[in-house]
Symmetry: C2
Subunit: 87 residues, 2 copies
């Protein structure tokens, strides 16, 4: 997976999940330093509409546009960010 | 919500999510410092079987045993832990 490509793809994610992977909205998860494999699982589940509840419909829409490679790259990028946003 | 009550309830969670909220298994999410409202949304969605894919079936089972108060307390507890596990 290519974290740099993930960073480029993450521009749209930052609106809710923060420039540093720390969510800007309480109902949304922080992604910085999250486990890479978990991030892949979660994005894939949203893409496959296997997650509902909460704000899941927002992520179903976002993930629908992502290829498996995009998902792997985004997971690598967010996993690489320091947990807590580098405080 | 009562983070201390959540801590007591979290003993079973630690097997996979770590004593300090940092997952011990790659496919599982870190919970330390996660947004409280997001944690409540996620646990509620697992309880309602609105999340599938990945290891969701494990969490469906765990969350089924939790009351809404348990969920609120667990969310408060994990949100209170330092992101990154206090490194």
């Amino acid at each position: 997976a290519d974290a740099e490509a993930g960073k480029a793809k993450a521009a749209v994610c930052a609106a809710c999940h923060g420039q540093n992977g720390m969510a800007t909205i309480p109902g949304y998860p922080n992604l910085a330093g999250q486990n890479e494999q978990y991030l892949k699982n979660a994005l894939t589940a949203y893409k496959n509409k296997q997650r509902a509840g909460g704000q899941a419909v927002v992520m179903q829409g976002q993930a629908a546009a992502l290829s498996d490679e995009d998902i792997a790259n985004l997971a690598a990028y967010y996993a690489s960010l320091p947990a807590g946003g580098g405080q």
